[in-house]
Every structure is written in C-alpha cells, then in structure tokens.
C-alpha cells in the first residue's frame, strides 16, 4: 500500500501516484494552452465538474478492485441513484437532505447486494455484478422510463460552481479524498481492505474478518456510485435511466491509469481520481485540438491505449520472466 520506497536493488522507484499526477499536469497544461479562453474560473469549473463525476465512479470501482473484485454495475448503480435522486431531490431543505440520504442508502444497498452475491453466493464478481447491474438498470427504467424529474437547483448551483474562484467540485473532491485516505491507511479496517486484495488466504489466517470486510468494500463501492449518481443529478438536473453505460468501463480505465492493480491490494483513491481526471482531460483536449472531429474518437482511444501501455512498460524491463506470472 505504500507505493514509494527503495526497491531491493537500491534504485529509487517513483511512486505510481506521482507519475499519474505529472501526466495529469502535462495534459492539463496542454489543455489550457489550446483552450481559446485560456485559464479562467469557468474553464476550471467545468473541467472539475466533469472530472469529479468520473472520479467518484472511479473511487467506487477502486474499493471493489482493491479487494480483488470488479464491479460491472457501477454504471447501472449510477443510473439508478440518479433516477432515485430525480424522485427524491426536490422540495424543502429537509426533504432534499432526506432525499440525499435515501439516495445514498439506495446506492449502498446495491453495493451490499453485489457483495452478498459475491461473498455469500460465491459468484465470481464479474458475473455477479453483470447480472445485478442488469437488474439495477431495469429498476431504473421502471422508475423512470424516459428522462425527467426534478432536482433541487440551489443544491446543484452550490455544487457545480465555485467558491472564491475555486471550483466547488475540487473542494468536494479534496474533502472526500482526505476523509477516505485517513482511515484507509491508518485503521485496521483500511489495511484489511488492502490485505484481502493482496492475499485472501493470508488474511483469513491473520484473523481478518474477510467476509465482512469484503462486503463492506462492495457497499462502499455502492456508496460512491451513489455519490456519482447524485453528482450527475446536480450536473443534469434530471433523472436518466440510460446515463450509466459509459461509466462502468471508464471507471475501470480510470482506476488502471491511476495505478490501481486489477489484481487487488494496490492503489489509492487519489490514484483513481487522478486517473479519472486524466481521462476527462484527454477528451477535453480532443475538443480543441485541430484534429478532424471524426478522427477524434480514434485518437481518444489511441491515447487511452498508449497511457495504459505506458503504465505497463515496466513489464518489458522486468528482469526475471517469472515476475510476469505472479
């Protein structure tokens, strides 16, 4: 879980998060340069809003991937909570607050259900979340066959603009990351999440309550998916049952770009968030690049592929071929 450190050969290894951060900084600088308006609060704000949304989805994915799972229901959970929000997030302040809570409960509940299917039902995560995701999409469509509904605008304004020139989305992300990082690194619960991803058998032998902690990881995934669902509601002021699909795969891509190992036990929420912002910056960059628009999807894909391949370049440097088959 500490990604820094001196490797055995004595050479200093650059922490994975730093690589992601530098990559993001470079991409962002590019973006600002070719953005016709240059750097402005508004440009920052919309960049942050778009980034936060995917970052929340990526953090949702992170918790599940951390315990060596995968959550293909992130998108459907986002859609379902978004739809739920469109039914619940209007009215008086109290009603809206209650609505937010209920939406979080819906998301956490979905995550818990995923966890139960995996832990109790012992179905491999990839298929369990695939099947349950289909269920959640169905419920979302049932609750709102076509887009619509009402979302409280004051709340939306508060969360999608800026405070003294600093985008609220960035502030929110910073708070979330700090709140998550501390217990994750410094409590036994947090370390247990890493432990389970690193070696399930060893965790059992160590006396960690593996089933409970794994369940909690899935529930946390659902919780963060609900935050993404809420934030999408803030951005769109509507409930849309079809909003989900791109988030599932993009959350996985973000997590990988951010240095979270799909094999579990490695990575951080900060990494996941950085991965999300990298992806979003790439697509924003495409926008103002002078590439022919029809060629943009290809370059977006190609850059994604290159970013992923770069992350894996280490494999070519591996000196012992056995390390490739850990």
């Amino acid at each position: 879980m500490t990604e820094t450190g001196i490797s055995r050969s004595g050479k200093f290894k650059v922490p994975r998060v730093v690589i992601s951060a530098v990559l993001l900084a470079i991409l962002f600088a590019f973006y600002i340069t070719i953005q016709p308006r240059g750097f402005s609060t508004y440009v920052m704000t919309i960049w942050s809003n778009q980034g936060l949304l995917l970052a929340l989805a990526a953090i949702a994915q992170f918790f599940v991937v951390l315990v060596r799972g995968i959550d293909l229901s992130v998108g459907p959970m986002i859609a379902l909570t978004n739809v739920a929000a469109s039914h619940l997030l209007s009215g008086s302040l109290g009603e809206v607050a209650l609505g937010v809570l209920l939406v979080m409960i819906v998301g956490t509940g979905c995550g818990l259900l995923n966890g139960l299917a995996v832990v109790v039902g012992r179905i491999p995560p990839i298929v369990a979340t695939l099947a349950l995701g289909s269920l959640y999409s169905g419920v979302a469509l049932l609750l709102r066959p076509t887009p619509g509904g009402d979302i409280d605008e004051t709340l939306s304004d508060a969360l999608t603009y800026d405070v003294y020139g600093v985008p609220t989305a960035l502030i929110a992300l910073a708070i979330i990351l700090v709140l998550v990082a501390i217990p994750l690194r410094r409590s036994r619960f947090g370390m247990s999440l890493y432990a389970i991803g690193s070696s399930r058998d060893a965790s059992v032998m160590t006396g960690i309550r593996v089933p409970q902690v794994t369940l909690a990881a899935y529930a946390l995934g659902g919780f963060f998916a609900s935050l993404a669902g809420l934030y999408i509601s803030m951005l769109t002021l509507t409930g849309d049952p079809n909003i989900g699909p791109s988030y599932t795969l993009n959350s996985i891509a973000a997590v990988v770009i951010g240095g979270v190992a799909l094999s579990g036990g490695v990575g951080s929420p900060l990494g996941a968030a950085l991965g999300a912002f990298i992806l979003k910056t790439i697509s924003a960059l495409m926008f103002f690049s002078n590439l022919p628009p029809l060629a943009q999807p290809f370059f977006e894909g190609a850059i994604l592929a290159i970013a992923i391949a770069l992350g894996s370049l280490g494999m070519l440097r591996v000196r012992s071929r056995l390390e490739r088959f850990l």
């Binding site: 217990p183 370390m191 890493y194």
Partner: protein
Amino acid sequence: MTSLVEFSAVSKTYGGIPALTDVSLTIEAGAVHAILGENGAGKSTLMKLLAGVITPNGGTIKVDGVERHFATPRDATALGIVCMFQELSLMPHLTVRDNLLLGDGGPMLRLIRGAAVKAVRASLDSVGGSHIGLSSLVSELPLADRQLVEIAKAIHRRPRLLILDEATAALTAERVETVFAVIRKLRDEGCAILFISHRMYEIDAVADRVSVFRNGRHVETFAAGTRNRDEMIGLMVGQPLTELFPPRVAGPAMSVAPLLSGRGLSWERGLDAVDFDVRPGEIIGLGGLDGQGQQYLMHAVFGVLKGVQGTLTLDGKPLGGVTPRRAKAPGVDIALVPEDRKTEGLILDMSIGENLSLAGLSRKPYGLTKAAGPADVAVARLTERLEIKLKSLDDPVKVLSGGNQQKVVLAKWLALSPRCLLLMDPTRGIDVRTKAQIYRLLQELAGEGLAIILQSTDYEELIHLCHRIYVFYRGRVVREMSGDEVTPDALIAAALNAHSNTAST
C-alpha cells in the same frame, strides 16, 4: 508443567478418508513439542484443528481444561493460539509494518498510533529482523526475510501456543539458529511450542518432547534424547530404514570435459561474475546462506532471467538466448525442478497424467494431437522407477502427498531424458523415506552420466551427495569445496566466513 491443550480421541476425515484417527495428546506450556511423521501422517491436520482452520469429526479439544470448538482462525487466536504456516499468512503487497499490525487484532476503525508501531519494531528485532525496514513491501523481501517477518508476526501476538508447521523449511542453518533462539526464549517465558520439521537435526536441536505420527495415528510421545535418530525414523516409517544417504560414489575425473560451464555470469539483481562447471556424471552443490544468488544461477541457466551477462557453454559451444523452451529443446536438454512445487512445478488442479506430460507436450508435432509419444512411454517407466504412489493418473495431482508431488515434477522432466538437471531445494518438506528414495535416484542418475546441479538449504544433503560445492555469498562464488574438505562444520564455516570476510572489507 501444566497441560495447555488436551486432545482426546480426536478424529478427522476428508470426504470419508481418515486423516487423523483417535488421537489423544497433551501439549504442555513451557516446552517445545516436536511432531514427527511422514508426509500425510496428519501433522498439518492436527495443527489446522488447533488453529481453527478445520473442525474435527470426533473427539474433544480442551484448552486450559475447557472444551473448545473453533469455527474460524479468529477463535483460536483469541485464546492465544497462533499458527505459522509456510508463507500463508503474509500479505505480499502490504508493508512489513502493516502485516504485523494486522495480526494483533485491535479494533477495526480506530486509528493506529505510534506506540503500536514501536511494538512492531520490537517484535521484528527480537527475531533477528533488525535489518528489515518496516516500510518495505513483503513482496520485495527475500524469502528468508519473509520467513523472519512471518515469525515476528506470530510472536507479535504474544502467543501462548505457537505452532510452526515447517516454518523453517526454507531457511538455512544460520537462520534456523536465530529462530531457535527465539523459540527457546518464548519457551522459557512459558509459551508452548509445537514444532514440525522434516529435518532430523532440527528436531535434535530444539525439541523437549517428541510425538511421532504414522498414518493419522499418534504412535508415541517421549522426551527428547531418549531415542536416537534411527529409532525415531523407525517409528515414523513403521520399519527400520537402512540408510538416509546412499554411500558416496566418486565423481568423474577433473579431466573430463564439462557438459555445461558458466563464465562471468552476472545479473544486475544478484549475480556477480559467477564461474561454474558441471561434468557428465557429476553432482555439484550450491551452498551458502539462503538468498545469496544460488537460485538466480539456476534461473539464469534455465533462461528465466533476462539481461544476464557472461557466457554459458554447452559441450564447449556457446549457448545464447536461453529460455525455458530452448533449454529443454533436444540438443540442449536442460531440465529444472523449481523451488516451489505447488505454484511452479505443478498445476495443482490438473490430473497427475496431464502434469506428467506437460513438459513433453512440445515434443509432439506442434499443436497436433496428443497421441502417446516416446516421452509418454518414458513417463510410464518413470512412475514405476520413482515409486510414485497414486491411485489413478486421472486424479488431480493435488491429492498426492508432498513427496509424491515432487516425484511427479522429477518424472515429468526425466521423461525428456535431460543431460543436465537443475534441482532447487528438491526435498523441502519431504519426509525421510522419500528423501532417501530421491537421494538414491540422484546418485543413480549421475551414475548414468547426468550432470546435476543441486541447490539446497539442507546442508546434510549437500555434504552427502555432492562431488563439489560452490559456496555463494552476495551473488558471488566465494569458495569451492570438494572431497574430504566437505564437513558440516567446514560448510557452515565457509558460508559464515564468507560472511565475515566480506563484511569486514
């Protein structure tokens, strides 16, 4: 002495097949209790019952005189019973600090404080791990250090009963001594220790009491020192064993041209200008403290490593660009029995037959049908020659005992009629009887002209089997020994001397 744990008439079956039958045994505080037995005798089963990994089918287990039923390892830990399996309980991607902290089972959500970290450091230091950094990742530690962390982790929980199931199997003599010191200290503080090892000299060194198991039954318990080695082996095997090591056979003359030679072999992470030769019919040993580059040399020769400098010559001709695939190709004919038979040597869920034919598959017309070829005929002969005990070739290989699994690995390679055989700690965790069989086999193979390189953590087997021994330190060969020079003391001294010599420069 007070009895801490009491087994009465405990039985355990796996799918109807008995693993432990009607075992009664008491374990006393303040003593090191060794459990002896062949592979499959039920030693690990006994430990797993105590550790709450499995539950008995019959009989009772009392702790402090109270009958207990453990559902999970947590229940056992709560009573101060701590188990050390072979590397099972370390989380590779976590730091040493976190591995140790997680074991002590505090409240889930409270934040860890500095005092807890200090305690971790102290535990690690007390087992001789002061050179290990708390923030190193376990996956980056050499095997021996991992083992120390494992031990520290067990001790960190302040056990009342510490179980070591072959926990020293990967350690060389010097490190074992460190562990023993810890064990003795714990014992003197009143802790009970259950100790399992297949190395007789370790039992001699550390045990206070010895219990022998055979075929899942408790045969006898006696005070250490009241039986000699042969008697103990007799109890384990059920009949007297003539000899563990076959009589020495002289190696080929130095004038015989080497089959395989290495010159100036270097590899950035652990080999430094190593020269070696091995002749047909010769058994050479790689000794020294563990993790000094012996394993890397094996991997370098078999083409596992990338970027190895220096030259390898086979039959006097240079051999370049080796990969495992090329190493085993006809004309080169090198075979490797890897270090960890469960993840490297075998595919546990596949059948014995499939495992036996795995290396030889490439000898079939590529990609075409699996019809029997010469290698398969050889496999059939070898299962007999190696006396592999199996019910059916279609059973998964994981149902075999450790010794028989190792024989499968050997047979799979011998079927290709290699000219050079690389063996990485081939008898680790294997019982005396099987060891003796393997030793005899190796000597026969050498007699037939096979060149053998044997890396081992067991100094006895290096001494008794090898014609020449290269002693490693920090990736270099620091000493070459042969003939009568090779005695236990000389070998250990060489490894340690190398240590102090190099350390002082």
